[in-house]
Symmetry: C2
Subunit: 263 residues, 2 copies
């Protein structure tokens, strides 16, 4: 389905995800919020703290999507190489960002050592991305937003930058949870998908402890009426096949429940 929504990719820079040590939660936080403002998240990549991988991936992604959000590698230690890699990717010098330097200097005072001064280095042309949690120095260069990996800091930075993005018609989605098995209704569901081409219909079976077996149908799109129509068609299908169901309608997903879901 092609629409004129702005597009996005997320790049997680993090050995700690690739080694299995850490469960990433940054993708879901960003993805939910992009969806809500009508920016289509097209791709996520997780790569190692490795210069070649970061430079190549940034250059591949930034040419392809409206916005790129990176997380990780912002800090004072040897493994924090996002800023220098971005300078290489954009082929600009890495230089002191004066605004950032002043903020860090005022904050750290006599503890503003050489390692922390390194945190003020950004690719030429960057703007500081602030957060209200700590002095972590996220930055934006052209369409690439580099954020901290730490979830609390990333979430705060992202919330502050979100209102500045170019957005599209918000996406909405409804979920129908039923006790039918997807193989029994697959043909009928295909007919519904074909009759509602501007709605993405996903089918997600679950096998928990029997008899808790069934399928979630998710109807997702930018046209609320079309999403509602497709949802009603799915409900009718479930009834015709003798199933029982519950529906999570998009109207119920307000901001407060979304926060509760992810924090």
């Amino acid at each position: 389905m092609t629409t004129n929504h702005p597009t996005a990719a997320i790049l997680i820079i993090g050995n700690e995800i690739l080694s299995g040590r850490t469960q990433d939660t940054n993708v879901k936080f960003i993805a939910e919020r992009l969806d809500k403002v009508g920016i289509r998240l097209c791709e996520v990549r997780v790569i190692a703290d490795n210069e070649k991988a970061i430079v190549e991936t940034i250059n591949a992604l930034r040419a392809q999507y409206t916005y790129i959000f990176t997380t990780g590698g912002i800090g004072a230690t040897h493994d924090d190489i996002t800023a220098e890699c971005l300078a290489k990717a954009f082929n600009v010098p890495l230089e002191v960002n004066e605004e950032t330097f002043t903020i860090l200097e005022n904050h750290y005072k006599e503890s503003f050592n050489a390692s922390r001064q390194r945190m003020a280095l950004m690719p030429r042309g960057s703007e500081l991305l602030k957060n209200q949690i700590c002095t972590a120095t996220g930055f934006k260069i052209e369409n690439v937003y580099c954020l901290a990996g730490m979830p609390t800091v990333m979430q705060n930075s992202f919330t502050l930058l979100l209102p500045n993005l170019k957005t599209g018609t918000p996406f909405v989605s409804n979920t129908v949870t039923c006790n039918l098995r997807e193989g029994d209704i697959a043909h009928a569901l295909t007919d519904i998908q074909n009759a509602h081409l501007n709605v993405e219909i996903g089918s997600y079976p679950f096998y928990r402890t029997p008899p808790d077996i069934g399928t979630n149908f998710v109807m997702h799109g930018a046209d609320p009426i079309a999403v509602t129509d497709a949802t009603n068609a799915v409900i009718k299908m479930v009834e015709q096949f003798g199933g029982t169901y519950t529906v999570d309608w998009f109207e119920r997903k307000d901001e407060s429940s979304m926060e509760g879901d992810t924090l």
Copy 2:
């Protein structure tokens, strides 16, 4: 750091991750287990249920890494397109896998409808990947392992296939959690990293409710003695800077605690 470990990438095929609806947990499950058997996970990608994206990504990844693990798109409905995309990527016909057809036919009996028969279609040259939870039809073609997206099914399939992979020297990691701020010790930590080049040292600050502020140092590598040496050097550094700490040594991460951690 270059080693002769087998390498891997994970490809999550899933609109439900990109829309923010679903929190992925498959990456951490697979990543932890690959690390433990000495297969280096180099990259993760999440892409949409889109033929062009799947075919191009599979071909990019399979040329680059020893193993590719995909999750999602295995099933009976219109959005399950992994098998046909893999046939296109490998440029082979999509055809009935007889073993799979027989298993499905015996299981579903009179419910073995056209949609479910579609689940027996695999790229020519595939082998069925079984699981003990349900009849989801994962398959392997050359170095690409296609698994279900449902965590319980994926986890069971992956556990069954893992002993058949070519492995390397297991990776181990220790974590030192301390109450120092990374900016204060960054220089000393760089010296430790430079003195232990076959250990990856990661620094992950945390800012929870003050005074619960500090840093996790993670020492990760395939040489347990080198990882222990680097850990002891970090502990000595923390003591020299007047910090307090706890250590999570790799010996304590046995299989049962890993299971508890992820399931």
